[in-house]
């Protein structure tokens, strides 16, 4: 993996174009669910590399899963699910869950703070906490329910795809730690090739619905999965058809223009009315009493 640039491609709440001088290869993380053994080495590596404080105050819920959900200081999680198949067999799925690094990130679209969310030319979507105002619109904009608000600092955080490591030519910490090659990192093009080969293998082994999870509703993602049962993404805790929501598109599209029209059109209309008709004069006039 060559050193990939952290050239910025898109910046939240910014109308001027991003610098975008250098081209960078699109990177991706591939998660081959069929070869995950649920060891959680990736979770540990993530906490260690990102120096995230551990939380010991959260309840355990009697599951193999480390925590019920992602947290502001817990950016990736293996979801353990027990699925009863139609033929009566039990399937135990283990699915690494984290930010998907969408090509069309709903969080970035929703963010009102300039520079709080950036998308690099290599596809990584990163939160810049210094610029974050803690409004939580990214949480609403995200179709994967990933960003988490730290109530103490009022800042939102999530998986960075180890943008700091990637910028230095290293693979993300979770990938470094994976003992089964369930996780791999590289250019998206190359990983899609590997994923297609893996899907063929799975099909030969009887997984008729094996497939790749790279949802088109968000323009594809830079975290892609090989799923043995790609017809049932819910079994892995993945949304079936994630997309940038219609509410977000309305808000940042037609309603934005309507808003500007009302503000500036309203002021302009008042001004023109005054030029044409002036103040409302009355015959006796409201002269101050003598």
């Amino acid at each position: 993996m060559p050193t990939v640039s952290l050239e910025v491609k898109a910046v939240s709440a910014t109308t001027t174009p991003a610098p975008g001088m250098k081209e960078a290869p699109l990177v991706a993380k591939l998660i081959d669910v069929s070869s995950c053994i649920g060891c959680k080495a990736c979770e540990v590596a993530c906490q260690e590399w990102n120096d995230l404080p551990p939380s010991v105050d959260r309840p355990f819920t009697g599951s193999y899963q480390t925590f019920p959900d992602l947290q502001w200081n817990f950016w990736q999680l293996i979801k353990f699910r027990e699925i009863l198949r139609e033929d009566g067999r039990l399937e135990w799925t283990m699915t690494k869950y984290q930010c998907m690094h969408c090509a069309d990130p709903g969080c970035l679209r929703a963010c009102p703070a300039p520079g709080a969310i950036v998308q690099y030319a290599n596809g990584i979507v990163d939160f810049v906490q210094e610029n974050c105002i803690g409004c939580g619109y990214c949480i609403t904009g995200c179709p994967f329910d990933v960003p988490r608000l730290n109530p103490q600092t009022g800042k939102v955080s999530k998986c960075t795809l180890c943008s700091d490591r990637v910028a230095a030519g290293l693979e993300p910490a979770c990938i470094k730690a994976c003992p089964t090659n369930c996780l791999s990192f590289g250019t998206k093009e190359k990983l899609l090739e590997i994923a297609h080969r893996r899907v063929e293998q799975l099909k030969e082994r009887g997984y008729a619905h094996a497939g790749i999870y790279d949802p088109p509703g968000v323009g594809g993602t830079h975290v892609i999965y090989v799923l043995p049962h790609a017809d049932r993404p819910e079994d892995y805790g993945l949304p079936r058809n994630p997309k940038v929501s219609w509410a977000l598109k309305l808000w940042k599209g037609p309603l934005k223009w309507l808003g500007h029209l009302i503000v500036f059109g309203g002021i302009l209309a008042a001004f023109v009315h005054y030029l044409r008709f002036g103040p409302h004069r009355v015959r006796e006039e409201d002269s101050p009493p003598s």
């Binding site: 709440a13 910014t14 109308t15 009102p112 703070a113 300039p114 610029n131 105002i133 803690g134 409004c135 939580g136 619109y137 949480i139 609403t140 329910d145 608000l149 009022g154 929501s245 509410a247 977000l248 309305l250 808000w251 309603l255 934005k256 309507l258 808003g259 500007h260 009302i262 503000v263 309203g266 002021i267 008042a270 009315h273 005054y274 008709f277 002036g278 103040p279 409302h280 004069r281 009355v282 015959r283 006796e284 006039e285 409201d286 002269s287 101050p288 009493p289």
Partner: protein, 205 residues
């Protein structure tokens, strides 16, 4: 004050409530525009920065709603539309052009009454839709999406109303700013702008 050539239009309480709503509302419009449209984000810097307006916008919103509710209770009887008001609305173009033959207005004209009703309703919608946006982690994503749209549309209607109201009150109907500040208007002003109300007040009791 019987010998004075002026009549009282707004009591001290009415003026206090009006200006509390006005100041809070202007803050909410400026900070809200910064939060909703990136082209207005510079307002955030003027108002102390993004995190500051993110904290204060909802709190000021609740404060405004309290005063808006007080205003509603105080004025709701004076704001009922009657038959003459409906005639007024049908001939609103005459009012806009300052033409003759506009049906006589009471204490408030039909335009003011409609503005009052609209602003009260929008205030309620803004409060209800604002709560999920205030505490995003406590409500479902679906509800937050609806809240954003309701909050935005209600805010835009209210901003339109605010622009019209400020323009009418400062530039067009001269004397109304003084009425809202001091509480008093001249008899001539009352007869010209609110003839039915002027007769009512001037009638010897």
């Amino acid at each position: 004050m019987a010998d004075r050539d002026e009549i009282q239009r707004f009591t001290m309480a009415e003026r206090l409530i009006h200006w509390a709503v006005a100041i809070f509302f202007v803050y909410l419009v400026l900070s809200g525009l910064a939060l909703f449209y990136p082209s207005f984000y510079w307002l955030a810097y003027v108002l102390g920065g993004g995190p500051v307006i993110r904290s204060w916008h909802p709190i000021v919103g609740v404060l405004m709603f309290v005063f808006l509710a007080a205003m509603y209770l105080k004025w709701r009887r004076d704001m009922r539309l009657d038959d003459l008001d409906r005639q007024w609305l049908r001939q609103i173009d005459k009012y806009i052009r300052h033409a003759e033959g506009v049906p006589e207005a009471g204490r408030f004209n039909a335009g003011q009454k409609l503005l009052f009703k609209t602003m009260s309703l929008m205030g309620l919608l803004l409060l209800l839709s604002g709560i999920p946006l205030w505490f995003p982690t406590r409500f479902s994503r679906n509800l937050r999406e609806w809240s954003i749209l309701v909050h935005e549309i209600a805010a835009l209607v209210a901003i339109g109303g605010l622009i019209a109201h400020i323009y009418m009150g400062t530039a067009v109907v001269r004397g109304s700013m003084r009425a809202m500040l001091t509480g008093w208007v001249s008899r001539a002003w009352a007869r010209a702008h609110h003839p039915r109300w002027a007769r009512e007040v001037e009638r010897p009791s």
